[in-house]
Symmetry: C2
């Protein structure tokens, strides 16, 4: 039996192009002892994957050339040679970017579907992006009741969770930035943000100052660059920033300039703290309990943007980097 997977062919310089990737057909062999074979149904494309395409020392090792890339995926066990998983089990795992996954059963986690929630949500609102929001907002930024919270990339998989969790946990005011009028409308309309702006409408420093006339206590940074500079500008004394990513610089060919107002970090006693969700597995049970509860109760809403087929996985990834997704970008396989 044949299957298909997406290989990295060349390390992108700046913005990736379709030529940097190839969809490769391979022969599917049977699982060995203790292994399972999984038919993937959904695979994730995430901003952090751009970093893994570089041949650079980073917090995760680079993807290797001429091999299938990896990433979050949800699939169904079609053949099991392990007592731990059975045919038909729905599993979450890291063998994305391919139609079929095969490996030791312990690399696959059996999912218990939540009523009324699609299993694709385990890649977004019940998965890594939402847990990133949860840990970053509550533990890293130390959200307190009555805080004013600003989140960039607010209509994305992480940002949309940050804003909603902030409100659910007692924030006084939630402000978001996004890259289109439709997203801004989604934030203030559907998600109940108090204010939102399209960062393409002008200098972020001015737009944020207008949206947060009384300043902010917490900034959840998905974007970096001028967004971080703007946040430092409007922080109140003792403000805390959780630095999650800086998508504005991921495709830069020159080192992006840093904030020109770093000295305010001293005067305002600010804390900037970088984090990776992978360090915080101890919070997983809390995260699932809270998030599944909120979703069940209709308090937490989420969007998914789908592309179909492994042939369109690269295009889904590029569209996500361009900000064309609302909520989580997912490839249906």
């Amino acid at each position: 039996m044949r299957t298909r997977e997406v290989h990295l062919k060349a390390r992108p310089k700046g913005w990736p192009t379709p030529d940097d990737f190839a969809v490769v057909e391979t022969e599917l062999t049977s699982p060995g002892d203790g292994e399972v074979l999984v038919r993937n149904r959904f695979m994730s494309v995430d901003p952090y994957m751009r970093g893994r395409m570089n041949d650079a020392k980073s917090y995760v090792p680079p993807f290797r050339l001429d091999e299938a890339m990896t990433g979050g995926a949800v699939g169904e066990v079609v053949e099991s040679r392990s007592p731990d998983l059975q045919e038909g089990d729905v599993v979450l795992h890291d063998f994305g970017w391919r139609e079929h996954a095969k490996g030791p059963a312990k690399r696959f986690r059996k999912l218990t579907p939540v009523e009324g929630v699609p299993v694709s949500a385990y890649l977004g609102a019940l998965g890594m992006p939402a847990m990133t929001a949860y840990v970053g907002l509550l533990d890293i930024a130390g959200l307190k009741e009555d805080d004013t919270v600003f989140v960039s990339g607010a209509a994305g998989a992480v940002g949309s969770m940050v804003g909603q969790i902030a409100r659910l946990r007692g924030a006084a005011r939630v402000i978001g930035s996004a890259g289109s009028p439709e997203k801004v409308e989604y934030l203030t309309g559907r998600l109940g943000f108090d204010a939102a702006f399209n960062y393409k409408d002008g200098p972020v420093r001015e737009l944020l100052a207008q949206a947060a006339p009384d300043g902010i206590d917490v900034y959840f940074d998905n974007v970096g660059g001028d967004h971080l500079e703007a946040a430092i500008d409007v922080f109140k004394r003792g403000g805390r920033a959780a630095l999650c990513g800086s998508i504005s610089g991921y495709n830069a060919t020159e080192p992006p300039p840093g904030p020109r107002n770093m000295s305010s970090i001293v005067g305002k006693r600010l804390t900037l703290k970088g984090f990776l969700v992978s360090d915080h597995a101890d919070r997983y049970a809390d995260f699932v309990r809270d998030t599944a509860g909120w979703i069940r109760d209709g308090k937490l809403t989420f969007e998914e943007t789908f592309f179909d087929g492994v042939d369109n996985a690269v295009e889904a990834f590029l569209a996500m980097l361009r900000g064309e997704n609302l909520g989580k970008m997912i490839v249906r396989l």
Copy 2:
């Protein structure tokens, strides 16, 4: 009786010049009820004062034009109309930049001289700069045993304390930067730093990478700019920076560029935390107990650089901004 004080005449643009200041002679009036009159013996010039010369919203209000500036000073009570202080008492207070100070007794703190330690040390090694080092290193950066510590401005009033306290509290390796070969020799010779470099010898990123081949855990930042960028470069995972000041930018007329490697804050899970010593008065008793003990036991050493006379106070301030002091810059009055 006449006395003299230093006024701010004009708000400096960029580097201050002597013309921005004036030594003004005034008539000295007797203290009122509850007040004391103090003959100042030593006054402090500190980097933070540069910020107060600007008409800018900052953590301390700006100095007013055509008035005596303020700052730390040590003097002797010459007339008291308060039961709390007596003639001859040595006091620490904030009415510097003048030969005589007059005010409510509660604004003056009586000092208990430490044997073998000059009272001028209450402006440095027993005063605000050393407490800044103590709080920043232990509480803000959270120094742990076996940390590798880097401090910039390491031969100054704050930096020289940071390096020594780090060693006394179990740091594995202490690295400093300073602005002359003599200071570098002072750091590795007299103060026992493991490594030091002259930041004028090349790009700080390269110099620090050579001095810290295995990375750093803690950075105490007195300088900002390229020093902070270099520290971010060599931080190990989980590194912590206490941001105390950024003297490299205090006289800039354009906003100084920020670090171009901010995205490493995420990947390495770094924490950057700004602070002001004035928020940490609750640590004063601990600080005095530890520091006075270390000085008495010969474990903590310090230098003072003196200028003489109120006429030279401005020159002392400018020389300090240029880095011409070793240890604490003090004006003897």
